[in-house]
């Protein structure tokens, strides 16, 4: 429910509303776009990044919060650990229980490999579960993998790695078929034809969906199948460091039982990192759409073992994250809201940008209004945001339009006392996706032998910008490829003596480069929210 103070401000929105119906705010010129991006898009905020002082990507920019974790000391420092005491000895170790990890485990198991999947939280606790929109695949007659290829490259500003894009688009129909055969309930017409739609940047309608629970439907099906197929799963058990063998190849990981707080050695012939993204690092203090477990653990572990990062300086912010009510802070407000005509307004009820600018430009314009021009609306918890005038949709499309077109949004806000048919939504850009990650080849291999990476943990597929619907696709394409290749590869692997020398080397490198770690230890594993800061801001 809005506070009396906010309700007072909403009156200004109501005052200007009649004048705004049917009147489009002018679009920005290319120069204006460049300028607002350069000055306000978080990717262009220099203080948001710093060059790494250590490791394979030394000298390259990474977000400050990520650099803090990459340049931190190991959790294993001072821990007595005997690497000869092996608790788990398997062919393929999959770390991470989201869509990529589940797909990898299933494929490896199918090859006859002995597979262990460990995951920090519950099996299925991942961004996969929260993906609503859909999954791309060129499986309609007037579409094709080459057409999909061009869309992906253009979306990524032609920076994507061609081999990875080729794998992505050519495997896509196979992935959908695989899911269909497992009984995933895609939206279909009576004869089985897939119901498909456009996404931003697609030239064909190739977005497949399962209501607006697409990711959840895929994740729960994969999880169900993995258990049926006898994949061994350990929940609430994270990996904290990779173990290499004396030849420098991946040979397992040190696991950490979150409940007993014990460290355990898992030896494996091949290791697959599928540990997701980094939204919970809250780059530049942004709220996030991401899962609680998205803390960049896989990036930290891989980098420390010598795996190369790619595209770490490019992050996707979604312009319309909820800024109020506080209970849904940072959660996604679907792009369809502005697609249907809702416009952005400042504290005076004035429009300040065209409502259908691209995601990056819209985000930058909102930030400029709040931070640069100080014309945002401050909430009782100290957040700032701008109005997204949803009632305008009812004026444009007629009464009842919101209930018909945006039922999920209506429900989400009404749970906390805001009726978006009558009151505007308060929004602010939210941290959504890491475009980069650990660099892989088309089999999901990193530059460390026997180390594979899949899902948001991996980088290179999307270049500097990912299209909607290509993330659910990529986790499955490269999860499957990594699982398959890692299982095959494991047949010829003999793991040599295990070592953690790379951790000592990492500590030495920190010291030699004069990095002040200020007591930082990583991977983070769990974010910590005490909300004291929120309270302090609010009572100022």
């Amino acid at each position: 429910m809005y506070t009396p103070e906010m309700k007072e401000l909403i009156k200004k929105v109501e005052e200007t509303r009649p004048q705004r119906v049917g009147v489009d705010f002018p679009r920005m010129t290319p120069e204006e776009r460049t300028e607002v991006l350069k000055n306000y898009h978080p990717d262009f905020i220099e203080e948001g990044f710093r060059p790494l002082k250590i490791g394979v990507n030394k000298g390259e920019n990474a977000p400050q919060e990520l650099a803090d974790l990459l340049e931190a000391r190991s959790r294993l420092e001072g821990v007595e650990l005997n690497l000869e005491e092996v608790a788990y000895d398997v062919d393929v170790l999959v770390i991470g229980g989201g869509g990529a990890g589940a797909a990898a485990a299933l494929m490896a198991k199918e090859q006859g490999a002995e597979v262990l999947l460990v995951t920090k939280l519950r099996f299925g606790d991942a961004n996969t579960m929260m993906a609503q929109g859909g999954i791309q695949a060129a499986d309609k007659p007037h579409d094709s993998p080459p057409i999909h290829y061009v869309d992906v490259m253009g979306g990524g500003h032609f920076t994507n790695i061609p081999e990875l894009v080729r794998a992505l688009v050519n495997d896509a129909p196979m992935v959908i078929k695989w899911l269909e055969e497992m009984g995933t309930m895609f939206d279909k017409e009576g004869n089985g034809t897939m119901v498909t739609a456009h996404g931003g940047g697609t030239s064909r309608k190739r977005m497949h969906a399962a209501r607006d629970y697409t990711g959840a439907e895929i994740m729960r099906t994969l999880r169900d199948e993995a258990i049926n197929r006898g994949v061994d799963v350990i929940e609430f058990c994270s990996a904290v460091e990779l173990i290499l063998d004396e030849e420098g190849k991946a040979g397992g990981a040190v696991l950490y039982n979150l409940e007993t707080e014990e460290y355990l050695v898992a030896r494996a012939k091949t290791v697959i990192l599928a540990m997701g993204g980094a939204g919970r690092l809250h780059y530049q203090n942004f709220p996030t759409t991401n899962h609680y477990g998205a803390t960049a653990d896989g990036l930290v572990m891989g980098y420390r073992a010598g795996a190369k990062l790619a595209f770490m300086d490019t992050i996707q912010y979604h312009p319309t994250g909820a800024a109020y009510p506080p209970q849904i802070l940072g959660l996604l407000v679907t792009e369809a809201v502005r697609g249907r005509g809702a416009t952005f307004l400042n504290i005076d009820g004035e429009q300040f940008t065209y409502h259908l600018e691209t995601r990056d430009v819209a985000s930058a314009a909102i930030i400029r209004e709040c931070v640069g021009r100080k014309k945002g609306i401050t909430t009782p918890t100290g957040m700032v945001g701008v109005w997204l005038d949803s009632p305008l949709i009812e004026l444009i499309h007629g009464e009842g339009a919101i209930e018909r077109m945006l039922p999920a949004m209506l429900r989400q806000f009404s749970r906390f006392g805001v009726d978006i048919r009558k009151e505007p939504m308060l929004i602010y850009p939210t941290l959504h996706y890491q475009n980069g990650g650990l660099l892989i080849d088309e089999h999901g291999q990193s530059n460390i032998e026997n180390l594979y990476v899949a899902g948001e943990n991996a980088g290179g597929i999307h270049g500097r910008n990912r299209l909607m619907g290509n993330s659910l696709l990529d986790i499955l394409v490269f999860g499957r490829r990594a699982g398959l290749h890692a299982a095959e590869k494991s047949k010829g692997v003999e793991v040599k003596k295990l070592t953690l020398d790379h951790i000592d080397a990492h500590h030495r490198e920190l010291e030699e480069n004069g990095v002040d770690t200020a007591g930082r230890v990583s991977p983070m594993l769990l974010p910590r929210y005490t909300h004291r800061e929120v309270l302090e801001t609010a009572v100022e």
């Binding site: 606790d125 929260m130 499986d139 057409i147 080729r166 129909p173 100022e540």
Partner: protein, 226 residues
């Protein structure tokens, strides 16, 4: 700035004063907890944070998702982030889409006494008892549809006097329906065969070799499907 209203809540019996605007999950963190269990997507999709609570002076036992429920004054709460339930292991390929498949793995569905506790506690407002009734009858289509928005939080199973694990029944019904009843997409099958026959390999190889300018031109002159 407005004064923050505080309320008293009791976490596992201990009293904490927290801002009244917080969700149960935020309130626990505010109180100093770092959550391991009982916290997942924080957006109402994953079912990790089932919580039971009482309000002082009210005999009723309430439930909700910690990330989607606001705290109230004098709320006594505990999380049930893990409610034990055994998932049957089966091969969906081998099963028929019928009541007997469901009955084989989850025979307790016939012990339902119609108390409606499952429906009453569902945070997604699903008609849980109804989809169990569809399962009993082997009406997979309705069972799948009615249970589709289930987030598998387990609150239904926690309250069931007949020991039914409703959410496991739901997913088995949906997989049987998706696999054996929904017709496979004909265009998908065709495309998969084409790809296996390497129909697009040459074109893709060609595209991979193209210089950025050539690709840009292709991209900018794309025909967009209406």
């Amino acid at each position: 700035m407005a004064q923050v209203e505080m309320v008293d809540i009791y976490l596992m019996g201990k009293k904490y004063s927290v801002p009244e605007s917080l969700t149960i999950m935020d309130a626990m963190e505010f109180a100093g907890y770092q959550l391991k269990r009982g916290c997942g997507c924080r957006a109402g999709f994953c079912g990790a944070c089932g919580t039971v609570y009482r309000i002082a002076g009210d005999y009723e036992l309430y439930v909700g998702l910690a990330c989607q429920t606001k705290v109230e004054h004098n709320m006594y709460l505990a999380q049930i982030p893990f409610f034990p339930a055994v998932k049957a292991e089966y091969d969906v390929d081998e099963l028929t889409p019928s009541a007997s498949s469901l009955a084989t793995y989850y025979p307790e569905i016939y012990r339902c006494i119609g108390c409606n506790s499952c429906t009453n506690v569902c945070p997604q407002d699903l008609n849980v008892m109804q989809y169990v009734a569809y399962a009993q009858r082997g009406d997979l289509e309705r069972c799948a549809s009615e249970s589709f928005d289930c987030i598998m939080c387990g609150l239904c199973a926690s309250r069931c006097p007949a020991h039914i694990v409703q959410y496991h029944v739901g997913i088995l019904a949906r997989r049987l329906y998706g696999k054996h009843v929904l017709p496979p997409a004909p265009h998908l099958q065709e495309r998969v065969e084409e790809i296996k026959a390497k129909k697009y390999d040459a074109d893709l190889d060609e595209l991979m070799k193209k210089a950025t300018d050539e690709l840009k031109e292709l991209y900018n002159s794309r025909e967009i499907e209406k």
